[in-house]
């Protein structure tokens, strides 16, 4: 799994890591029982503070996505937290309306929106340019 962080993004770094890991889980790129790199290794790889990665891992652990086994490392949980569809449905519908209105205001048609969704789908499952949708404007 390839993670990318960008300090100039709207989200704090630890949330960028959380989002990419949950997206990898949703898309099946990370599977139950998979081992994650240690927070120190990931910190060196991403060149960010180890505490930031640890915070992301801690939050994901609290949410029940990953678990740390003493002396063995950090793994994706065997049982992922079940999300109640009823709770989420309304939010998804809202996101869909938002997406549609955004597209229509930009002059796109329904087919274009379908294409956007398909691209997002392949990003989620194949990890192409995940987390890198924004142009990186880090170094001026």
């Amino acid at each position: 799994m390839q993670l990318i962080v960008n300090p100039a993004d709207d989200l704090p770094l630890y949330r960028q890591i959380m989002r990419q890991i949950t997206e990898a889980l949703a898309g099946g790129r990370l599977k139950r029982g998979d081992k994650l790199p240690s927070h120190r290794d990931l910190a060196e790889q991403l060149v960010i503070a180890p505490l930031t990665v640890k915070k992301a891992y801690d939050e994901l652990e609290l949410l029940g996505f990953i678990e740390t086994q003493r002396g063995r490392g950090t793994f994706v949980c065997d049982k992922l937290p079940r999300v109640k569809l009823a709770d989420q449905r309304e939010q998804m519908e809202m996101s869909a309306r938002k997406l549609l209105s955004q597209a229509y205001l930009a002059g796109l048609g329904f087919d274009d929106v379908i294409k956007i969704l398909k691209d997002a789908e392949s990003e989620l499952t194949h990890g192409r340019s995940a987390g890198n949708r924004r142009p990186i404007k880090e170094e001026l």
Partner: protein
């Protein structure tokens, strides 16, 4: 006591009645990485020199590992690594000679670490310091500052003038240090992206005081900036009276108002206080926050 470095009400002037630092208080705990921010002339270097025992404060006190850096200079300096903004290295020596000198001063010198860093930066013992590029000279300064395995590393604009690749290498070594040694770090920098990468907390100096002292993630999540049309508010003072407001300045036809609150809460508060609708509050990266808090000349309080 957990405070590795404690500034207590530090006051320091270079000219009479014109204090650069006017009551600075904060402490850095073991293992913390703190980014010291502020405009040029805000007193970052002065504060760092006071911590190093290179300057006496006019008022207040500083403690490093619970000791005064001026009363116990050797004990304190043994445990600190320091890279100054304008670090001068002896031009006539080679890297090897300089390292040999440090090895002799510091009994705790770690030759393995020395080898690793030389390797990482592709530096050779035989190179003359004078012939090094600016970036390489900084790398040598960092090497000399960390190989005695200090508990506290103080970096004064370590990356100033370095190209992006050299800055990144510098950060990589810092992160490895954090990982392997748990070193406490205080560093001043104008590169906000670097600060966000390795900092856990930021302290912003402005007009001689600590303007802001916050966890970086909290700064990202619990602060926002609102753009308010000029006509909607009579003055900066009126905006600053809005609960949660920590700064306001006029930029062309808009007030830029910084809130310590989530965007929707700030929006609701503005609506309640000013009666204006449709004001958009957004979270901003550190660089924008820096500009909003200390940029421009803010209108003086009425």
């Amino acid at each position: 006591m957990n405070g590795v470095l404690e500034f207590n009400n530090i006051v320091r002037s270079y000219k009479k009645n014109l204090p650069v630092l006017n009551g600075v208080t904060f402490s850095v705990n073991a293992g913390e990485v703190v980014g010291l921010l502020g405009r040029n002339g805000a007193g970052k270097t002065t504060l760092i020199r006071i911590a190093m025992g290179m300057l006496y404060p006019d008022g207040g006190s500083v403690q490093v590992f619970g000791l005064s850096p001026t009363a116990k200079p050797v004990e304190v300096k043994k445990r600190i690594g320091f890279v100054a903004e304008d670090q001068v290295l002896p031009g006539g020596s080679t890297i090897g000679e300089l390292i040999a000198f440090h090895r002799r001063i510091f009994p705790s010198w770690d030759e393995q670490m020395e080898g690793r860093i030389l390797d990482r930066f592709s530096l050779a013992y035989t190179s003359k310091i004078r012939r090094l590029s600016k970036g390489q000279a900084r790398q040598v300064a960092l090497l000399c500052a960390v190989c005695h395995r200090p508990e506290l590393l103080i970096l004064d604009e370590p990356a100033a003038g370095l190209d992006p690749a050299a800055r990144r290498e510098f950060l990589e070594v810092s992160i490895q240090l954090l990982n392997r040694e748990g070193t406490t770090i205080l560093f001043s920098s104008h590169y906000m992206n670097d600060v966000e990468r390795i900092g856990g907390r930021v302290v912003l100096l402005d007009e001689g005081r600590v303007r802001l002292d916050s966890d970086l993630d909290r700064l990202r999540e619990d602060f926002c900036v609102a753009m308010v049309p000029k006509a909607s508010a009579p003055s900066a003072a009126a905006l600053r009276a809005v609960p949660g407001c920590v700064g306001a300045r006029l930029v062309f036809e808009d007030w830029h108002v910084v809130f310590q609150a989530a965007p929707d809460a700030a929006e609701a508060q503005l609506k309640k206080s000013l009666g204006t609708n449709g004001i958009n509050c957004v979270r901003v990266p550190l660089e924008e926050m820096f500009v909003e808090l200390v940029g421009g000349k803010r209108e003086k309080e009425a």
